[in-house]
């Protein structure tokens, strides 16, 4: 099992969600996050005082998939979240040791 964490743009969420569900992903968790990469932040000005806002708002999607579906899920996210401009986001993949469905106690890939 693998956990995919994808940092994407707000307005791409709907597209990414639909694309993933079409390809058999049955669940996901999203969080509103702030951070920066190459895009950096922007300046804001309030009554003449300037603020550098380094952390820009993004959406983080967490999806858990069986190893066999990993590449398909990654391709799907890349395709649906891409605009080609700096600031499209990042994807991180980690090994996952366990997943448990609380209702039944099932574990492993059947619990995803």
């Amino acid at each position: 099992m693998k956990k995919i964490e994808a940092i994407i743009r707000h307005f791409k969420l709907e597209e990414v969600k639909n694309a993933l569900t079409e390809h058999g992903v049955t669940g996901m968790t999203i969080t509103e996050v702030r951070g920066f990469g190459r895009q950096k932040g922007h300046t804001e000005m309030y009554r003449g005082t300037e603020y550098e806002v380094d952390f820009v708002p993004k959406i983080k999607i967490e999806v858990v998939v069986p190893d066999t579906k990993l590449q398909l899920a990654l391709d799907t996210i890349i395709r649906s979240a891409q605009t080609g401009q700096v600031g499209d986001g990042k994807i991180f993949v980690t090994d996952l040791t366990e997943a448990i469905r609380i209702r039944t106690g099932e574990s492993g890939e059947t619990a995803i």
Binding site: E44, M45, Y46, R47, G48, T49, Y51, E52, V53
Partner: protein, 478 residues
């Protein structure tokens, strides 16, 4: 004719009671067209109540109360960080309660006690209205009496309530300077002392027949007295200058200049500014103290100055920084309203537009360049908008004031532009107000600092005033 007018005004009064406060000014202006009553300051032989005037003044009182909360409470609380949002709202709401009680007990009589005597007391109101004596309803000579103001066409109660709303918002304006760091208990004591020692003497001097009131028998030592229609000196210069003293004595917020302190919710600020704009019609047009043509004139001047102020500030931003902002536009609107306050009933519509433009430029520079140069932490620009805008307004009143609005029936020349000489007295009134505000506020703060401390502890300031002062949080989303 007289009976007919009274009847019509009575009908308007009934309508006013039913409609929303926001819509009421337009209705009251219809009463103004009926020429309900003329000048504000003429003394009638026997005081008679005009129900149209009374209705407009009660509506105005409610409008001015709305300026403090939700108006100012939203305007200010949107500008602080979210850990202090309740701290600011609490200051506004608490002051509505606190200052009302102080006004009822001794504030009104210190300001207006003996104001219709000949001559009125020189320095401070006398005890004639202590504890609402001669103001509240009484049973006299076998019948119920709701006293009518001897010099006006409204109840004493209405006059007391209307003026009381000013007494609430003035210390609330100062909160903008010490926001995010002042101890709540000290703020409470400060407001009582400030209201008693700064506001009441000034209010008496300017409106209660004291040394600064235009045409008052006491005003000889101040160049015959200054024009202040709705509180340029009493409300805005006094609070704005005191705010600067507070900002300097309390010192900067922790991390000021190194940590970012952007406004946490400008949507509040925009809504609050819009409410201030509406409430200000009560503040300024209500200061005609009747529903006649003078109220209409003041209403128009107020509206025009606000619009021109907002446009100008936005234009300044557009030119110097490339983008017009909502905060800038709202600040310009408030600056325009501040500036026109002393002039509202004395200037015509076109000079009001000019005053809005002038204050838009001046206050923009005060809140950006001046503040940056001297690096004082006037958190929400109470001085930059109210102190600077109020001073400019009081002086420009001496330039643009005209007898044409009929505020005084004697037809004397007023402003510089029509050849009048009131500008000198405007300078004197501004100087007296600045001096009193600086000296008294500094003294009060120093005493309170020694007795109870001005600022919250460092850890409380970092935690935020909401939790440390009130044990609550503004935003709990579960």
């Amino acid at each position: 004719m007289k009976i007919g007018t009274t009847l019509r005004n009575g009908i308007v009064a009934g309508m006013l009671a039913g409609v929303m406060a926001v819509l009421a000014p337009a209705t009251a202006l219809q009463a103004a067209e009926n020429e309900g009553s003329a000048a504000a300051s003429t003394t009638a032989a026997t005081p008679t109540l005009n129900t149209g005037d009374n209705a407009w003044m009660l509506t105005s009182s409610a409008l001015v109360l709305m300026m403090t909360a939700p108006g100012l409470a939203l305007f200010y609380s949107g500008l602080v960080r979210k850990k202090n949002v309740l701290g600011v709202m609490m200051q506004c709401v608490f002051l509505m309660c606190l200052m009302t009680v102080v006004w009822a007990l001794w504030g009104y009589t210190l300001s207006f006690g003996g104001d219709t005597f000949d001559p009125p007391p020189k320095w401070l109101g006398n005890h004639s209205h202590l504890w609402m004596n001669g103001v509240q309803a009484a049973w006299e000579n076998g019948k119920a009496v709701i006293p009518v103001h001897p010099a006006l066409t409204i109840n004493r109660l209405t006059h007391m309530l209307f003026q009381g709303m000013f007494f609430i918002i003035t210390p609330a304006l100062i909160c903008g300077a010490f926001a995010e760091r002042m101890k709540f208990s000290t703020m409470v004591v400060f407001s009582v002392l400030w209201g008693t020692l700064v506001y009441c003497p000034l209010c008496h001097a300017v409106w209660g027949g004291g040394i600064l009131q235009y045409g008052s028998t006491n005003a000889g030592i101040c160049g015959g007295g200054a024009l202040d229609f709705a509180g340029g000196t009493v409300v805005h210069i006094s609070s704005g200058v005191s705010a600067l003293v507070c900002a300097l004595v309390l010192g900067k917020r922790l991390g000021y200049g190194s940590e970012p302190m952007p406004p946490h919710n400008l949507t509040y600020t925009a809504v609050g500014a819009a409410m201030l704009w509406v409430g200000w019609f009560g503040f300024n047009a209500g200061s005609a103290l009747n529903a006649g043509g003078l109220a209409a004139s003041a209403f128009c001047a107020t509206h025009f100055a606000a619009a021109a102020g907002g446009l100008t500030w936005a234009a300044m931003e557009w030119i110097t920084r490339g983008k017009p902002s909502i905060l800038g536009t709202c600040s310009g609107v408030v600056a325009g309203l501040v500036c026109i306050t002393p002039a509202a009933g004395f200037v015509t519509a076109m000079p009001a537009l000019l005053m809005g433009v002038a204050v838009g430029v001046v206050c923009f520079l005060a809140c950006t360049t001046l503040k940056a140069r001297f690096r004082y932490d006037d958190s929400l620009d109470a001085f930059g908008v109210h102190g600077v805008g109020g001073t400019l307004g009081a002086l420009l009143t001496g330039v643009f004031a005209t007898r044409a609005t009929g505020a005084f029936s004697d037809g004397k020349l007023l402003g510089l532009l029509e050849g009048g000489k009131v500008l000198t007295a405007q300078f004197i009134a501004v100087a007296v107000t600045w001096a009193l505000a600086i000296v008294a506020t500094f003294a009060i703060l120093k005493v309170l600092d020694a007795v109870m401390g001005l600022r919250v502890s460092q850890s409380a300031e970092i935690e935020g005033l909401d939790l440390s002062q009130h044990g609550e949080e503004g935003y709990i989303f579960i």
